[in-house]
């Protein structure tokens, strides 16, 4: 692996806070919540204990024409929308418009998802049960497969240097970016479109998470349901959305005079080998991921002024991460937990939160953690609450952990 600098030249997202990065970032700074009461009758039909979710601010069909949309699972739709935005933001034109801005053999894609297309699977199973096999869509498999979001983006942008789709649950989006970083460092690509996507708010996912006792049931107060690090937290809120970045070798970006938001300077990926949903009680995997990222970036723990925490608002998870941050970095980093506002975007989370971390460095401001009334006394960290905090940052870490014991830390630095 070389020491090629890897820079970020484009960012895109569609989230519960807004249909693009600007509106999402403004929402985070303004302290808005993307969590709403679910407008559906199934919560009642199945007597679900959870009737809230962080649904998209804008339906994907506002951006994707009808015929194209019916060939795509919702997860693929949000990935495509975020990828278009990131691509355009990087100053590239779509291959379908006026030719190729990046040599296809030097362009890769790495977009993960945690769950993929279970909603398609269930809809098509309904067709099978009710109308027989003739009514099962020939697009069933390409719509439900977890590599679908990455594959569609790869076709759209004509990427021939490899299309990857990490599946590491709630760390998938971060691992997507880490994989892209490796592709550029190893010389396999000059540009990689990377991130994560998820869109499966459905009775089966809600019921499954509820049975695992991981989701908030604060149905009467949706905007205050997700409260990472707060003493009264009771679980996460399932969300949907996607985040995508354009990663580029510094040389490639410089040669075309691209605007640079910052660098991915190091990544850490570890696995707990402990429990399928619970994190290791000593945080060994989380600590090791953050230390790996620091080491690869060639910075010290002291240089890391900010951590964008994974913190989903579960009772056990949040204190575990807080202790891991404390051990890996110390008590100086200013911490925020964006899932308080965004909900938990599962495979999209690491990418959207990676973008937020990058923008904190770029703009010199850390958004506040929403709904933090009383900090859990076991969290011995400086968690931003109330108002965003303005501060100069040279390096920051975004943490993402997932069911399965996946731990990913992304270390961003200023351009």
């Amino acid at each position: 692996m070389s020491n090629t600098d890897v820079v970020i030249t484009g960012i895109g997202a569609t989230t519960p806070l807004g249909p693009d990065v600007t509106s999402t970032w403004d929402g985070l700074l303004a302290g808005r919540s993307g969590v709403r009461a679910l407008e559906t009758d199934w919560a009642e039909t199945y007597d679900l204990p959870v009737r809230i979710g962080a649904t998209l601010a804008e339906e994907p069909t506002e951006k994707i024409p009808r015929v194209r949309a019916r060939r795509l699972d919702r997860c693929e739709q949000v990935a495509l929308i975020a990828a278009w935005q990131a691509w355009e933001d990087a100053g590239f034109a779509l291959p379908s418009d006026d030719g190729e801005d990046v040599e296809p053999e030097r362009l890769g894609v790495s977009i993960g998802t945690g769950i993929g297309g279970p909603v398609t699977l269930l809809e098509q199973d309904d067709n099978l049960e009710q109308h027989g096999m003739r009514k099962v869509s020939p697009l069933t498999v390409p719509m439900l497969m977890p590599n679908g979001p990455a594959a569609h983006v790869g076709i759209e942008l004509r990427a021939r240097a490899g299309v990857h789709s990490p599946a590491s649950a709630c760390a998938s989006g971060a691992e997507g970016i880490a994989k892209a970083f490796d592709m550029i460092r190893s010389g396999k690509a000059d540009v990689v479109v990377a991130g994560g996507a998820e869109a499966c708010i459905h009775p089966i996912t809600i019921a499954g998470f509820a049975q695992a006792r991981t989701v908030s049931t604060r149905n009467d107060d949706p905007g205050r349901a997700s409260r990472p690090f707060d003493v009264d937290r009771d679980g996460f809120v399932l969300g949907e959305g996607a985040g995508v970045v354009v990663l580029e070798s510094a040389a490639h970006a410089e040669a075309r005079g691209a605007r640079v938001y910052g660098k991915v300077a190091g990544t850490g990926i570890t696995s707990d080998a402990y429990h399928i949903t619970g994190n290791h009680p000593d945080g060994i995997g989380q600590i090791a991921a953050m230390r790996q990222a620091i080491e690869q970036a060639g910075v010290t723990a002291r240089d890391v002024g900010h951590v964008n925490a994974h913190a989903t608002s579960t009772v056990v998870g949040d204190v575990g991460e807080a202790a891991a941050i404390h051990k890996a970095l110390g008590d100086h980093p200013v911490v925020t937990a964006p899932k308080s506002a965004l909900g938990h975007l599962v495979g999209g989370a690491g990418a959207v939160e990676g973008i937020a971390t990058l923008l904190s460095i770029y703009h010199g401001i850390v958004p506040a953690t929403l709904n933090l009334g009383e900090l859990d006394p076991k969290v011995e960290l400086d968690v931003v609450a109330g108002e965003p905090r303005k501060m100069e940052l040279s390096a920051a870490i975004s943490n993402s952990f997932g069911f399965g014991g996946h731990n990913t830390a992304l270390l961003f630095t200023a351009a």
């Binding site: 015929v67 194209r68 060939r71 869509s137 020939p138 697009l139 390409p142």
Partner: protein, 81 residues
């Protein structure tokens, strides 16, 4: 035998629904693949909808022979009950 003009109109509606080709562009001489840019997956969906709408069976080996819109109209006209 069904009226071919009506069949063409019905088929054009299905093609528009499935593949997004404007109804008026779905004319007898057009090739599904070469002119209308319809892929094999969409062809399966179009065939299933045509079977339901016109009360015909279109086996896979017959579907493979239906190169143009006109071929499909002729097949349906000859085989619908």
């Amino acid at each position: 035998m069904a009226d071919k003009t009506e069949l063409l109109t019905g088929l054009a509606e299905i093609v528009e629904e499935v593949a997004g080709v404007a109804k008026d562009d779905v004319t007898a001489e057009k090739s599904f693949v070469d002119d209308l840019d319809i892929d094999s997956l969409s062809m399966v969906e179009i065939a299933v909808q045509a079977e339901d709408r016109f009360g015909v069976k279109i086996p896979d080996d017959e579907l493979a022979n239906l190169k143009t819109v006109g071929d499909a109209v002729d097949y349906v006209a000859a085989n619908s009950k």
